[in-house]
Amino acid sequence: MKPVNQKAWFLILPVVLCVAFSAILPLMTVVNYSVQDIISPERRVFVGTEWFKSVMRDDDLQGALLRQIGFSLSVLLVEIPLGIALALSMPAKGWKSSAVLVLVAISLLIPWNVVGTIWQIYGRADIGLFGAALARLGINYSYTGNATDAWLTVLLMDVWHWTPLVALLCFAGLRAIPDAYYQAASIDGASKFAVFRYIQLPKLRGVLMIAVLLRFMDSFMIYTEPFVLTGGGPGNSTTFLSQYLTQKAVGQFDLGPAAAFSLIYFLIILLLCFILYNWMQRVGTADKTEAEHG
């Protein structure tokens, strides 16, 4: 229990005001919309939880939700092992290490809509390197026409874009393992796989948890890249949750249901943030106690 110092509250007042203006008030507006039926700007009817109920029952929404979950899971299944593998093969010290780090991080620096545009062109069978190569090999590939191809392309694009983040996190985690562990394993006669399984993977546990939750959250909110690449098509095969929501709110101007689902979407993300925060706290204290005694 620390002695209380009241002066600190005044220091954070400007920040509180900014956050209130830019986040909390707009959020309250959304809450307002979600409980009203806006037939026209003048006529607004309070409908309570009706939008929430109808939104949950909407087939289109459920479809988008399922596609989203499928996408996020595939992203994790590919990116996490790939990121670990990449981190393991990156050099640890010297100028080569810095050079490789920069190379790996390049795709993270590209604006997201540009990422979508790059892959749009890359995948075209006539002028794109990837598309043309596949056509040359005789594979019938079209991300605009074929739903599976579109899915795979969006997935591939996300992997290309975000695996480096997982790799960089794991790289940092690996550097935190003291040399003594590797020396001890070498003295114990452990094979490279045993070193990975018994030393590196357990020590990366904290970092991997962060990577998994970050990637899950980000992929759950993904909008720009698939929108630029496929526009949600063909049909609605690559329409994920955020795009569906935008279509609803902006395209069809159904503010009520859109606001309702925004809130649900927001709450899902909030829940995931909460889990991430608590897990990080727990892992953080466990590592700290180990570090103090180790």
Partner: protein, 354 residues
């Protein structure tokens, strides 16, 4: 178990010219098979570098390392078949204690029955038999260090066990028990053990022979007795003993040697007189080999009194240890200190004379 011969030097730069360029000045050392050795010295003296050269983690820039006469300088620690215990416990978090101990044997393809037997024996020696099925990650630091140690001992053909300040993270009241455990293990298994530390208590307790090092140089190798009674170098006199040896500068004049103006018997070549506080006595006034001093501090350490005295008004400080049952002089009292006796040593250029 192996006999280890060292004939090497280690420098970080390719063409070392002066002493400062060397991490380890040229040395020749032998560790006998089954002996317990300690490398003792302050931080930065090169003891950990020397240990890493013996284990194979570092390759010496000049010279070689031989195990039982075979040159192993190019071999890895795994190939040399050594075991090493580090400063902080290194255990496999996901395994139980038994699995941790069994790991080195499993990697070598030892049959399961033999593994169980060996693990059981080592666990018993380390008094961990009841914890064999517990997860290693959840145990206290000293238990984890014992597991680290156990992994080294579990291999029967290990050539040497090397310790790099292993008791650093152990609570003080448990250090006592672990030191004893190490000595018992040495007695029972008769392995070649090499122990690096900056703590003289650990070194002198553990080892048959102690290598005292400073600034890359092995200054003296000897038993605890030898290091205590006849330190070959002033550094050894200072470093060993709590508190260390008193060093008094000698002046040579027409009538012989003197300390702060008081005549003493000393060889002509000697520049410094060294006498341990344990051997400084309270003498009768004007006795032979005694000097007058004033008591500046008298500390009651339970089992003994630690006196700090000054010879003359601005002479050197001399410390003396007196038994608890003796009457301790008060601060400011004038006393006569007997500093010359069979235990007094004389030094020139930091080296022991005769």
């Amino acid at each position: 178990m192996a006999r280890i011969d060292l004939d090497l030097a280690h420098a970080y730069k390719p063409n070392p010219q002066r002493d400062e360029d060397y991490a380890l000045l040229p040395l020749k050392m032998t560790f006998d098979d089954g002996g317990a050795y300690a490398l003792l010295g302050p931080s930065g003296c090169g003891k950990t570098t020397l240990l890493n050269i013996v284990s194979g983690l570092v390759k010496p820039s000049h010279g070689n390392v031989k195990y039982d006469g075979v040159d192993v300088t190019a071999r890895t620690p795994q190939q040399r078949n050594i075991a090493q215990v580090f400063q902080f416990p290194v255990i496999y978090d996901t395994m139980t204690v038994a699995e941790n101990l069994a790991f080195p044997l499993r990697n070598r393809g030892v049959p399961a029955e033999k593994i169980k037997q060996r693990v059981g024996r080592i666990a018993e020696m380390l008094e961990m038999s009841k914890q064999l099925d517990m997860r290693a990650a959840g145990l206290a630091a000293d238990a984890k260090q014992k597991i680290s140690l156990g992994r080294g001992l579990v291999r029967e053909d290990v050539s040497a066990v090397l310790f790099d300040e292993p008791l650093t993270v152990i609570d003080p009241h448990l250090k006592w028990q672990l030191r004893r455990k190490l000595k018992q293990i040495h007695h029972e298994l008769k392995l070649t053990l090499i122990y690096v530390t900056h703590d003289q208590v650990e070194a002198l307790t553990f080892a048959d022979q102690v290598v005292v090092m400073t600034r890359g140089r092995a200054v003296q190798i000897g038993t605890a007795s030898q290091l205590f009674e006849r330190p070959a170098h002033t550094f050894v006199g200072h470093f060993i003993g709590s508190p260390g040896m008193n060093f008094l500068p000698l002046q040579h004049g027409a009538s012989g040697a003197s300390v702060a103006g008081h005549p003493v018997q000393a060889p002509d070549a000697a520049a410094t007189l060294g006498v341990r506080p344990e051997y400084v006595t309270l003498a009768a006034p004007n006795a032979a080999g005694a000097v007058p001093a004033v008591v500046t501090q008298a500390q009651d350490i339970g089992t003994y009194w630690l006196l700090t005295t000054r010879i003359g008004t601005d002479g050197p400080l001399v410390r003396a240890r007196l038994g608890a049952e003796q009457r301790a002089p008060q601060v400011g009292e004038h006393v006569w200190l007997g500093i010359q006796g069979s235990h007094t040593c004389y030094y020139k250029d930091e080296e022991l004379l005769g």
